[in-house]
Amino acid sequence: MITALTASRLAEGLRRREWSARELAQAHLDRITTQDPLLGAYLTVDPDETMRWADAAQAMLDSGTGGPLCGVPVALKDNIVTEGVRTTCASRILENHVPVYDATVTSKLKEQGLVLLGKTNLDEFAMGTSTENSAFQITRNPWDTERSPGGSSGGSAAAVAGELAPLALGSDTGGSIRQPASLCGIVGFKPTYGRCSRYGLVAFGSSLDQIGPFGRTVEDAALLASAITGHDPMDSTSLQVPPIRLDDLKTGSLKGVRIGVLTETMGDSADAGVRSCVAEAVDVLRREGADVRDISIPSIAYGVTTYYIIAPAEASSNLARFDGVRYGLREEGKGHIGMMERTRAVGFGHEVKARIMIGTYALSAGYYDAYYLRAQQVRALMKRDLEQAFQELDVILSPTSPIPAFRIGELSADPLALKLLDVCTIPANMAGCPALSLNCGFTQGLPVGLHLMAPAMADEKLLQIAFAVESALPNATGRPPMP
């Protein structure tokens, strides 16, 4: 089936006229029609809109313009705005919101001729680790539909793993690309903070948020990363550096690559199957000539606390814009304050309210120093410790998630347990580092992700190493048991 092919193969076939952009789009739309009822990956699919994008892509192909992925379909997480296409953040407060402009990443995809398949499900406002916190539907894992695909970009991850899209974009504030990539057995990449514009990404934790790609191979994810990165004057935190370059993607080897295995993430708190899978992969890398050593960074342990103060604090401020005035839901109440209070009470789901509450509390008079300021100091400590570790390392290696895909509902009764799952992925957001998850094997039939983190701005080097790691582990991936 054509939907099983990689994005790079699809792009090559488009240029060779083995298939057209419309044929590719239709094949994926057909598969969405038959398979998405099982997965619930998509919130919005508009075939007419998809075909408009496909026709624009075909015109570029015919005239020899467009980017390297011209004509290849892509799915977007539904917190990335798309002009004229409903963008909900999986929240009742934006249920009928049709943006009047494109996110910078959306414009870049259009300019390069990628084809929008639809908008994917997420935890409401990207707040969650399981995609169970969507106001509209839960998303299921293609490897076992009784299990969660992870989150918050669970719809994008499930779509790519289930071959309902060759590529997708997600957003990553504390691991929301890498953890679902891990639980779904695919590649997810968070670039260095500032390499990809956040303009048009509905803000959650502005100092941590970064858009990034999902693909079924490192090369596919790297191609999409290259397509969306680059400086953007519309985002004042955007770095003055060019898009990610792929010239050296395939020329690296593991010989002499300095890999630090993060001991804090390989202890008893991680599932034994996950640990042994990662350890076996590490043995392979060592045999391939990598310079592997254990490394301990004790401040990593503070990541979850630091994150669950800083991210909600920023979210409580960012989500103040949902006030029933300019867009979104409006519920009448007593006076203007009553209107806002009712609008937000009805429009936001429980987890979003909980995070607004913790953030407001951490920023409120009398608690600011003890929580928010303290967390910023610990963030500085984590950043310094990581920078020191990277003086002697090319990448830091760990599991992406301490456990494989968990059953839907299994952890939802214990919000803290779900939050503790972010321990391996949070440090990269705190320090702005690029980080990637790729599959390294299976435990009890479920995928296990390997997490690689590199120093800030070393995106190209990280992708090159990830490509070499993927090549060294040829039997580490597979296709989920879907029809």
């Binding site: 509390y361 929580y371 967390a375 400590l381």
Partner: protein, 96 residues
Amino acid sequence: MAISLDEVRHVARLARLDLDETEVLALQGELNALLGHFADIQGVDTSDLPPVSHAMSLTNVWSDDRVGVVLQRADALRNAPVSRAGLFVVPTIIED
């Protein structure tokens, strides 16, 4: 530091959330569980480090002072729950 029900109600007012009593109780439990976990950073020695607000420090990012494409009024109002005469309509803020 445990958070009381009154503090939950106070923070909800600050955050403009009209919570019912069931939610107030549930959130008290969740916030206290989180605050308990947060104790782990209170004793960490960070005395030689200034707090950071961003991962990548940038200073003085200016944009060119140039007329560009801006959102048209009709577009800006398109998603407004209530608008009239080219304006967003809000409830009365100052009574006569």
